[in-house]
């Protein structure tokens, strides 16, 4: 008897589902009546269509000195545009990604938003959610490589502020103690790993729950073995694929490092954002960390005394490989874009220009240790000078895979790389999986 009721319930559920669209209007209409009281309360906040007072929304994720640089740019913009106010909303890195997706899906994105360019921004571009600004900005003031991260089919969809490169940071004191020198060859590096490990020091600190952190190793090893064209060939489907010999060899080299105890216990459980890998470096338990140059900013904020011990070198070349030591892995961030659905696209574009200006880039360079994505910034900070020099002398910059690839493929790349670190997948399996997904999405 009761069973009949359950069946009835299931059926009624499907009926509800079936007549869904009309159903929704009716029910939300009903809700409207009951909530009018609160609605009028908030109207003043949400109604931004008043011709005299224009309100722009800006979402960014910059902390500390970088955040101040963004605020300074907003202040300049508001001063130059009386009657326009900018509602600045600082977001948390990880939740931001899903929050922007929800906002875009709901048709209510901020007027100006942060991204890293690459495949992530491209998703929104393809969805027609991002305004093209090719002719609005002066392209000549940007470093070409930086601008290319937000250029698709020759059209520009975002303006970059800063760039980053990924060197190996190390503790000079520990290197001195064990008579170690900055490595010239990959063999040298392996020798360093051995020496450190035999002295009870973790060679490389790594927090690979974040996944992009471990991806740095794979990117470097693959470039050093397969050369600068390897990734673009695989990505553009014009030659070698993600299952190429070079990628498999890179995977083997990576697992060789794991087996040499080059990384801390349980790398895959540590989170970079919460400082678990840096904790090891600060406390002297680990000697090196492969990380973007924002590392300096982290150190200054968290453990300022450590800065004097901090040195860096570039990932050495591998003998017999096609890559070079002065080929670097790097990326662009932040990139600012205008939402297509913005009510005030012109003003929003002006705001983007102010955010991605020499003034902002200078602030970020000198206070936060970022390399500028704009030409003509003078660096005062010795670290930034050095890193900027590295970038200038580099013959090739490999942009981060996870930001270049379409998100779904990036997920596979990150997951399989994490599995390589956990030794739960062979390089052959991992690369075959990436290639299979690439075939599905890119071909």
């Amino acid at each position: 008897m009761k069973f009949k009721f359950l069946l009835l319930l299931l059926l009624s559920l499907f009926v509800i589902v079936g007549c869904n669209p009309t159903n929704t209007d009716v029910s939300s209409g009903g809700e409207d009546d009951t909530e009018t009281e609160t609605e009028t309360e908030t109207e003043t906040e949400t109604g931004g269509d008043d011709p005299e007072e224009v309100n722009l929304q800006l979402w960014h994720i910059e902390d500390g000195p970088s955040g101040e640089a963004v605020q300074a740019a907003v202040d300049r913009f508001e001063e130059a545009n009386p009657g326009v106010s900018v509602e600045v909303s600082k977001q948390e890195n990880d939740p931001y990604k899903s929050k922007l997706v929800v906002a875009m899906g709901g048709g209510n994105p901020p007027d100006v938003f942060h991204s890293w360019g690459g495949g992530w921004l491209e998703q929104f571009v393809q969805a027609g959610q991002v305004k093209e600004i090719t002719n609005d900005i002066d392209q000549d003031i940007y470093v070409e490589a930086a601008l290319s991260a937000s250029t698709y089919d020759g059209k520009v969809y975002g303006a970059p502020v800063s760039m980053a490169v990924v060197p190996v940071f190390y503790n000079k004191e520990i290197f001195e103690e064990y008579n170690l020198e900055e490595p010239e060859t990959y063999e040298d590096l392996l020798a360093i790993v051995e020496t450190l490990d035999s002295n009870g020091i973790i060679p490389f600190s790594l927090a690979n729950q974040s996944k992009w952190t471990g991806s740095f190793y794979l990117m470097y090893l693959a470039e050093r073995i397969g050369g600068p064209d390897l990734f673009s060939e695989a990505f553009n489907r014009t030659g070698r694929g993600f299952d190429d010999e070079a990628y498999i060899e890179a995977g083997h080299k990576l697992q060789e490092l794991v087996k040499m105890n080059a990384f801390p216990e349980g790398v895959n459980g540590m989170n970079y954002d919460t400082g678990q890998s840096r904790q090891l470096v600060y406390s002297g338990k680990a000697a090196m960390e492969l990380m973007g140059n924002w590392y300096v900013n982290n150190v200054r904020e968290e453990m300022p005394d450590f800065e004097e011990k901090l040195g860096f070198f570039l990932m050495p070349a591998i003998e017999g490989g096609q890559g070079e030591k002065n080929h670097v892995v790097g990326g662009v961030a932040p990139v600012f874009s205008v939402a297509e659905t913005s009510d005030h696209k012109d003003l929003a574009t002006e705001l983007v220009k102010e955010l991605a200006s020499v003034a902002t880039a200078t602030d970020m360079a000198n206070n936060a240790g970022d390399v500028s994505a704009l030409i003509g910034v003078e660096y005062k900070d010795p670290y930034v000078q050095e890193i900027a020099a590295v970038l200038e002398n580099s013959e090739f910059m490999q942009t981060y895979y996870d930001q270049t690839l379409p998100p779904e493929l990036a997920t596979v790349h990150l997951d399989t790389t994490q599995a390589l670190f956990g030794l739960s997948m062979t390089p052959e399996e991992a690369m075959a999986e990436v290639e299979a997904k690439a075939k599905e999405l890119l071909d």
């Binding site: 009721f5 809700e31 909530e35 909303s89 948390e92 899903s98 709901g106 904790q279 968290e302």
Partner: protein, 273 residues
């Protein structure tokens, strides 16, 4: 004496469970009074000097605003859930009609819905209602997702109330409304306590709706605030622990102050059943 020895294993189990449940709290609170250096060198020892500097750090942030928002949202939502939930349960438990079981099951099904998929529909709804980025946006979904379990609890509880009570009231000429508010509702106290406690805790700690339906810092609730501290203090573990302690304190305090009442209420309910 023999009795005491016999009780030894009991004490042992009780103390092991005490450590199991309590130790993480001890670690959290203990660490929150330490300096960063002290934490790294001796994570287990008691702090050298109880320093409130980590807490002072928090007072500079929006902590009290987070706290206030969480309180307003939780209290209002719980009150609505109790009233609407009890009202809805009345016909389900005491009246016989055709849709009785299907409606009850409709509510029960709600317990099985993974709330995360409802994010986009509810987000759109919230914008249409003009409630986006206000704390009022949270009350609707909180109430809606708390209703299923509350209706189930209330209905089951109401079924246990003897029919005679109702009949004598009916003879006195009581309508359903008076019957419900005068006679049934006051008898629900234990169920109300259960529903209130259960939902208050869940709503107080809710994260994902708060993340998506509000945006500005002044409308953030406590869990959002905690997540923000986590990202902000990074390697300053003691400061994070101070934030966690302060964030957990309100519920713990309420519990300690009211626990006799809470436990008695729950117990009284079962005796009746």
């Amino acid at each position: 004496m023999i009795k005491k020895i016999r009780q030894m294993p009991l004490y042992l189990v009780a103390i092991i469970l005490l450590l199991f449940t309590g130790l993480p709290f001890f670690i959290m609170i203990n660490t929150s009074f330490k300096s960063q250096l002290e934490f790294m060198t001796s994570p287990w020892s008691l702090p050298d000097s109880f320093s409130f500097s980590n807490y002072a750090l928090l007072l500079d942030t929006n902590f009290f605003s987070y706290f206030k928002n969480s309180l307003i949202v939780s209290v209002i939502s719980v009150i609505i859930v109790i009233i609407f939930g009890a009202m809805a349960s009345y016909p389900l438990a005491r009246l016989k009609f055709k849709l009785n079981t299907p409606l009850f099951l409709l509510f029960m099904v709600g317990m099985m819905i993974p709330i995360h998929t409802t994010l986009i529909p509810i987000y759109l709804l919230t914008i249409n209602l003009g409630l986006y980025d206000t704390i009022w946006a949270l009350i609707g979904p909180y109430v809606a997702f708390a209703l299923p379990i509350s209706v189930v609890i209330f209905t089951q509880f109401m079924k246990e109330i003897p029919k005679e009570l109702e009949e004598s009231a009916k003879i006195d000429g009581c309508g359903h409304i008076r019957l419900f508010w005068r006679i049934i509702f006051p008898l629900l106290t234990p169920a109300v306590a259960t529903v209130a406690i259960y939902n208050f805790i869940h709503i107080w700690n809710e994260f994902i709706f708060a993340l998506v339906l509000t945006n500005s810092s002044e409308n953030a609730t406590l869990p959002l605030g905690l997540r923000e501290y986590y990202g902000e203090f990074t390697v300053n573990v003691p400061a994070i622990m101070a934030a966690l302690t302060l964030g957990s304190l309100p519920l713990l305090l309420i519990y300690f102050v009211a626990q006799e009442k809470i436990v008695k209420g729950l117990a009284a309910g079962s005796v009746k059943g």
